[in-house]
Symmetry: C2
Subunit: 360 residues, 2 copies
DNA sequence: TTATTTTCCGTGTACGTACACGGAAAAATT
DNA sequence: AATTTTTCCGTGTACGTACACGGAAAATAA
């Protein structure tokens, strides 16, 4: 252990000395809150440059009396759902920033109910936060929400999906069009001609299709067109229920008996396990299945070999980075990148364990 | 901006108050450096538990006079090589920790020369560091080195590869056997019978085969055996030179004319671009090529479609996590996980950009 | 000129922790 | 009982920064 004096970190008192002023003046220049003569300001700025000064962020937040409150607006979920990861990641991420005097609050909404989103959004204003992070599910309601945020000068960030023409601070999410394109490539490469492809969708009372899901679908179709596979493959669709396992089973029985050449299947939402359950029960090992997101059940079927590919989108990183960038921007006045696409991670039976176990 | 007093973070003075002692005593208990009566100690420990106190790491390292010096022992490299990433990542990583009074120094050795490694290792002792991070290239020399470190009570961590029976603090690296297995799966799936597989190796003056490369090779063979492909495929080997492009070209000309059914090729080191260069020049689009690591040239050929797959191993994370864990252990006395495998990341033309561009 | 305002800037304290110093109380020794 | 030693613990200062306060100097007004 090297106990000697730490190698001279240069602080404001050093630049004060060099500039021939007091540290109070240096501080005024740094935070440019005026009351400094031009001469002094320039001397300080020169000293800052000459000594290559950078503030000690620890000391800064120690001394700071400011407290930052961020609000996160995210969907409600069932245990094991995709959104659980995001939710938990917020808690984990905020721990990295508590020493910067940061805290978060959360508002939940129903993914299928725009008015529930609007209500959650409205509740944000009861006590004005310093920033908002949200998953923008409903375009109209989101636009109204962020417009109101703007009048209050409250910055906001999107994650998961994005509304391009809003004035967000950052976006973190996957390029879902591209991930659909990649899904098609993985799923369809090397399939025999005239194979049937099963596209599994979810029954909805209301006709809501999330941005992400719709875009994956578009990317998927794009690949088919680009490769001229429209007539070489046949797409078969089936709509499964969220909760009625029995009904789904007979639906699938029907589909598979009507279409004898199904060689591959895909779900654009995260519920690949619903089909996997069927395939496993029927011992259908001849269907290549691709799904999204590392739900526990998906992972389990991947390991069993029922699901061939899972595409992941690092929900934890999306959340962490969103929060981190909000801190960078608001607390440390640093610049941040507006649009950030997370990688399209390809998981197979053989690399899933390392992916999951790796704790950065 | 919420300027009100920060929500009462509890510090040592709070537990001092509750325990009815001074903060000096609290500090003595926390760092258990004695000179505290049993009664006081217990009162303090109870207060710590009751108030759920956790130290402010910022304040701690601000007040600390200790300075930590870590030494990194890594291979020399040419610009663009795999090891450049690791080297640069050390610089980047240490920036995250400078405010914790951490600095690093580096020692380079020749990958092909064990005595050069030994010399680099020996030079570490000129000024005793607080910790060492190294890529253990030569088993014997490494064991000697870490034995000496142990006599000096200097902790050390491995990255890239690992020597299991050494008393290292952490290891970060890829399971190269498994990554070879996966490579085989990606490369060989769906190939026609009697296809020839080209295995590209590197000519070496001395017979050194890195751990990683050898293990990938073993994993590759394991897949072939497990699938019973020994007789259905034929492996063809070629040894390319590191620097003689012209000689390599005629070597490859020869190999491809002798073996007319080469449908796939692999390199177990990071130099896939050397074969890609040839394939591109000869317009051979019928060879599926898999390589390792995101060297600029590899990435470029991947994007062009000459390389079909690249397997990446997050060298930047390996380095960052090694350094971070050393800080966690030595500075913050936290526990760390000993063996950490990084994910086997699968990159194709279509997802490489997002992978590279994503800055966490 | 004197009084008043404005501009400018130095001093001091606080943030939560580490640690040196020294003093009081208790214990041991004479 | 007086002295010495040991045990225990409170006080004070420092880390680098933020910011309040108030004072000196300069500019303006009387």
């Amino acid at each position: 252990m090297n106990e000697e004096n730490k190698p001279g970190r240069i602080g404001i008192k050093d630049i004060a000395l060099l500039a021939g002023v007091s540290k109070g003046t240096v501080d005024r220049v740094i935070h440019n809150r005026g009351e400094v003569s031009i001469k002094s300001r320039e001397a300080v700025q020169k000293a800052i440059k000459d000594l290559d000064y950078s503030p000690n962020l620890f000391a800064r937040s120690l001394a700071s009396r400011k407290h930052y409150r961020f609000v996160c607006v995210i969907p409600k979920y069932q245990p094991g759902d995709y959104w659980e990861t995001a939710d938990l990641s917020f808690d984990e991420a905020v721990r990295s920033f508590t020493d910067y005097n940061v805290s978060i609050e959360k508002r939940y909404f129903d993914q299928l109910d725009a008015s529930s989103f609007a209500a959650a959004a409205e509740s944000v204003f009861s006590q004005l936060p310093d920033g908002v992070i949200l998953a923008p599910f409903f375009r109209t309601e989101t636009l109204a929400f962020v417009a109101k945020l703007k009048t209050q000068n409250i910055p906001f960030s999107f994650f998961d999906s994005m509304i391009e023409d809003a004035d967000f601070l950052t976006y973190y999410g996957q390029n879902s069009f591209q991930s659909g394109y990649i899904a098609a490539k993985l799923l369809l490469e090397g399939l025999p001609e005239n194979a049937e492809i099963l596209v599994v969708r979810t029954q909805r009372k209301k006709n809501v299709l999330s941005n992400q899901t719709a875009n994956r679908n578009r990317g998927f179709i794009e690949y088919i067109k680009k490769r001229g596979l429209e007539r070489k493959l046949k797409l078969v669709e089936v709509w499964l229920a969220d909760d009625d396992e029995k009904a789904n089973f007979s639906l699938l029985q029907n589909v598979f008996s009507m279409n004898r050449s199904i060689k591959a299947a895909i779900t654009f939402n995260s519920k690949a396990y619903r089909l996997a359950m069927y395939l496993e029960k029927m011992h259908r090992t001849d269907v290549r299945l691709l799904g999204y997101d590392l739900l526990e059940k998906n992972v389990s079927y991947l390991k069993q070999g029922v699901i061939s590919f899972l595409i992941a989108q690092r929900p934890d990183k999306q959340v962490y980075c969103s929060l981190r960038d909000m801190c960078r921007k608001l607390i440390f006045k640093q610049e941040v990148t507006r649009v950030n696409y997370v990688p399209v991670d390809l998981l197979i039976k053989d690399n899933i364990d390392y992916y999951i176990d790796f704790k950065e």
